[in-house]
């Protein structure tokens, strides 16, 4: 984002007003205990996702066949793990579910932030430019979005993902330099990189539409005309005048879109198109447990719970921010 350090006197007042609005919103949010719980939960997830090895007792790929399907809270029977307790049990290969869950956090949190990041970086810019451009350019830009939009999202993602993963399975010497770089990135991240690309490729569409609509709404208002009159250039108007007004709506929309990214990754991993084993993701863990639903329901229970709780936290937070920013609900 372009920020200039020299504040023009004319522009100082809207900036100050937006800070007090932000202050208001934050104050209203911290009063709600549910919001605090959600924020703490998500913050804990982020910490766990950054330092998984600190929290996980075992590695995510360590198999102990004697302990396969061990129920939660049972002790390990493998001699080298004497006294070790499987808090959440072990899966079909005797891997510690708790450890795998922790490493799976990494995948979901990364997808959440990358999806949101790409969506903001591309979608916001695209929408701002389209909305502030002359009608002809705007029309053309939005038609492009419309066309991609007609493509069912999940199908596009699946297709992209199949394409990218099969790229990774090709012999290395048949690939060009760029392809080799991409494939290396992907194998290093356990198949995660291509999931990012596929989700990012479609995540910006909604944001572009929303931003453009908001921009169209604000561009006709007096403060924009005033800025145009004093000779501010397009870039300045877009980033310093329009963006601060629309960013709140966009943040709310993005928070509410994050569960969809998390879910898309989980689903891709569920059908075997996501992260590559043995790298755990909540989706692939759910798929693992799904096969043993009858005999060992605990395998599916914990990843399913983690996935649902995380999506719930983001949804709840998004709702709360939206309510807190809504001036109509201010005097509840």
């Amino acid at each position: 984002m372009a920020t200039s350090t020299a504040p023009a006197p004319v522009l100082a007042s809207p900036a100050r007003r937006s800070r007090t609005l932000l202050f208001d919103v934050v104050m209203r949010l911290v009063k709600d205990p549910f919001v605090v719980i959600c924020v703490l939960y998500l913050a804990a997830l982020i910490v766990v996702a950054i330092f998984p090895s600190t929290f996980a007792p075992l590695s995510y790929e360590e198999t102990n066949f004697p302990d396969k399907l061990a129920p939660p809270m049972s002790y390990a029977t493998t001699p080298k793990l004497e006294g070790f307790r499987y808090i959440m049990g072990a899966d079909r290969l005797g891997r510690d579910i708790f450890s795998r869950l922790i490493y799976g956090t990494r995948v979901s949190i990364a997808v959440a932030f990358l999806g949101a990041g790409i969506s903001f970086a591309i979608g916001l810019t695209y929408g701002l430019v389209a909305g502030y451009s002359p009608a002809k350019v705007d029309n053309m830009m939005m038609r492009i979005v419309d066309i991609i939009y007609a493509y069912p999202t999940l199908i596009l993602i699946i297709l992209l993902q199949v394409f990218l993963t099969s790229l990774a399975q090709q012999p290395a010497e048949s690939l060009g330099a760029l392809q080799t770089l991409l494939v290396t990135l992907d194998t290093r991240s356990g198949g995660l990189f291509f999931v990012f690309v596929a989700i990012g490729a479609v995540s910006w569409l909604n944001m572009a539409r929303l931003t453009r609509g908001q921009t169209l709404h604000y561009r006709e208002q007096e403060f924009v005309q005033a800025a145009e009159l004093v000779g501010a250039n397009n870039r300045r108007i877009m980033w310093r005048h329009l963006l601060p007004n629309i960013i709140g709506t966009c943040i709310v929309a993005e928070t509410l879109a994050i569960p969809a990214y998390i879910y898309t990754e989980a689903f891709l991993s569920f059908i075997g198109l996501g992260v590559q084993p043995p790298m755990p993701s909540w989706g692939s863990m759910i798929a693992d447990g799904y096969g043993a639903l009858r005999s060992a329901p605990h395998i599916i229970f914990f990843p399913a719970l983690a996935l649902s709780l995380t999506m719930l936290a983001f949804n709840f937070l998004g709702d709360a921010i939206r309510d807190a920013m809504d001036p109509k609900l201010r005097d509840r």
């Binding site: 007609a150 069912p152 199908i155 699946i158 394409f163 099969s166 689903f267």
Partner: protein, 313 residues
């Protein structure tokens, strides 16, 4: 009105070319072919590819495909050694549509009343519990809800079959009992979205002056709610039906995987991995057609419900 419809239909032409072209190019850029297997000798593969025209340049194949689609033929399935794609997809589509309709029925019949009740009793325990359930509903994804329902109602209680599909010809009871769990799995999240949408728009309408007027002239609460509030509150819900249908469509792809239902979504996933080009193309075209069609339908419905919306442009 008719001009708008025609314009929207014309809009499908560029969408069609981009969507099919992109899919075609991606599919053919995938390494491997439909006849690859360890046992098949290379000479035979070559012969098969010649029979199905796969040895020609991709652009030429695309034009061949286009001309056959113009005759409403989607070509032979390569995985099933030449049986026409339609013979798989039409039954699959029928299954998916039935599942989708039941899911939408569930979503609307649960979501709308819940939203209305919540709005009518704003701030009460009913409102709070409905809002809480709704937010849980949007947060529990199908890959969690499906297995949970299967475990509880099929494995534990034995009320419904775990998975699979029964057609209506197997009898009404087996048909319905097979459809309940997948339809709920598919519809739960949507019903939550509809409930929130209905509640929000109902609240907005209930604050309007004409509602106060209606109440002031002594109409019963029921008449005010049904005649005055509900009709206007439903407009945003109707506009949402388009995205809703799209969500049902892609959602059924997930649910069909979980419940082993022979719908279109399952064909799509398997046909990509088996490089069954005609099958993939047909599925994508059908999906895009449905999405564009439903959105058009919603636009028409929109003007019927809300006469204020003109089509002056």
């Amino acid at each position: 009105m008719i001009r708008v419809i025609i314009r929207r239909l014309l809009w499908f032409i560029p969408v069609f070319f981009v969507v099919t072209g992109l899919t075609f190019a991606t599919m053919h850029a995938l390494p491997g072919g439909p006849f690859d297997s360890d046992k098949t000798p290379p000479a035979l593969i070559q012969q098969m590819e010649e029979v199905f025209g796969l040895n020609r340049p991709v652009q030429e194949q695309y034009f061949i495909w286009l001309s056959s689609v113009a005759q409403l033929k989607f070509g032979p399935s390569l995985a099933a050694r030449g049986k026409p794609v339609e013979s798989f997809l039409l039954p699959g589509l029928a299954v998916s549509v039935q599942l989708g309709l039941f899911a939408m029925l569930f979503a609307l019949s649960v979501g709308m009343p819940a939203g209305i009740v919540a709005a009518m009793h704003r701030g009460s325990w009913r409102d709070r519990s409905a809002t809480l359930i709704a937010i849980i509903g949007v947060s529990v994804p199908a890959i969690v809800l499906g297995p949970v329902l299967q475990w509880l109602f099929a494995l534990r209680l034995g009320w419904f079959p775990v998975a699979q599909w029964a057609s209506l010809s197997d009898g009404l009871i087996p048909y319905l009992s097979h459809i309940v769990l997948p339809a709920i799995t598919l519809g739960a999240g949507l019903s939550a979205i509809i409930a929130r949408l209905t509640r929000a728009s109902m609240l907005q309408v209930l604050g309007e002056d004409y509602i106060r007027t209606a109440q002031a002239k002594g109409l019963s609460q029921r008449v005010v709610t049904v005649r005055h509030a509900l009709r206007n509150a439903l407009i945003p819900v109707v506009t949402y039906l388009g995205p809703l249908a799209a969500a049902v469509l892609t959602g059924s792809l997930v649910v069909e995987q979980i419940f082993a239902i022979p719908g279109m979504g399952r064909y799509f996933v398997t046909s990509i991995s088996s490089r069954d080009y005609p099958m993939v193309m047909a599925v994508v075209v059908i999906y895009a057609l449905i999405i564009v069609g439903v959105n058009l339908l919603v636009d028409i419905l929109y003007t019927v419900i809300d006469p204020r919306i003109g089509h002056g442009n």
